[in-house]
């Protein structure tokens, strides 16, 4: 079974703090994704990565950056957290080659005060 883990289930940060959300997958997947989920808006793609050190912007990259130094780990960084970044953050991974099937972590609920 594919396992995708996220470093925290719940996180509370202050406005202006730098925030790191970590995601690790154990199935040697090439593709990794970061989404945010808000009520009524579904899942929106922030960034994705198709290989180590490779990344592409998703639909809502503003205010976020990412890092992928190792194949199994994909980090989402909020350089200066703001209250409008309070959300549920979901990480996913998939095998490259056309399957498109994404496997999700349990999510991190981030609150920025």
């Amino acid at each position: 079974d594919v396992k995708v883990t996220q470093s925290s289930r719940y996180l509370v940060k202050r406005t202006g703090e730098k925030v790191f959300l970590e995601c690790v997958q154990d199935m040697d997947h090439e593709n990794m994704f970061w989404y945010r989920q808000d009520p009524g808006l579904g899942l929106r793609l922030i960034y994705f990565s198709y290989d180590v050190k490779m990344k592409e912007k998703g639909d809502i990259p503003e205010g976020y950056s990412v890092s992928r130094e190792k194949k199994e780990r994909f980090s989402l960084i909020l350089e200066s957290a703001s209250t409008n970044q309070t959300s549920m953050y979901l990480c996913a991974s998939s095998l490259s080659g056309g399957s498109h099937t994404q496997y999700f972590g349990p999510g991190t609920r981030l609150t920025v005060l």
């Binding site: 995708v4 579904g42 899942l43 592409e56 979901l90 490259s96 099937t101 349990p106």
Partner: protein, 114 residues
């Protein structure tokens, strides 16, 4: 670019009743289609997927979905729901060429009443 519409924000059904959740997509060719389920406070779990072939797809937990090209739809069905089916359901579409992103619908929240 592809898009997905889930027209029902919230559906309530009685336990034991049948269920159909609607999903319409927009894409220039036949896409890859998925249904995911999210229990409260959890990540998304894959229910089923359509890539090609038989347009009626069987998934886990007794769910099935039917791809109808003429209607650009991929509706999810279950003949008899259980209280444990209460969750949020997401339809997603992926392009057959280019990158391997998925586009998700806004979700349908399912409530089960006794």
């Amino acid at each position: 670019a592809q898009s997905v519409t889930q027209p029902d924000i919230h559906i309530t059904v009685s336990e034991g009743a049948s269920l159909e959740l609607r999903c319409n997509y927009s894409y220039g060719a036949t896409p890859y289609l998925f249904w995911y389920v999210q229990s409260p406070g959890q990540g998304l779990q894959l229910l089923l997927k359509y890539f090609s072939g038989d347009t009626l797809v069987q998934g886990i937990k007794g769910f099935e979905a039917e791809f109808k090209r003429s209607q650009s739809s991929f509706n999810l069905r279950k003949p008899s729901v259980h209280w444990s089916d209460a969750a949020e359901y997401f339809c997603a579409v992926g392009a057959r060429s280019g990158n391997e992103k998925l586009t998700f619908g806004t979700g349908t929240r399912l409530t089960i009443i006794p």
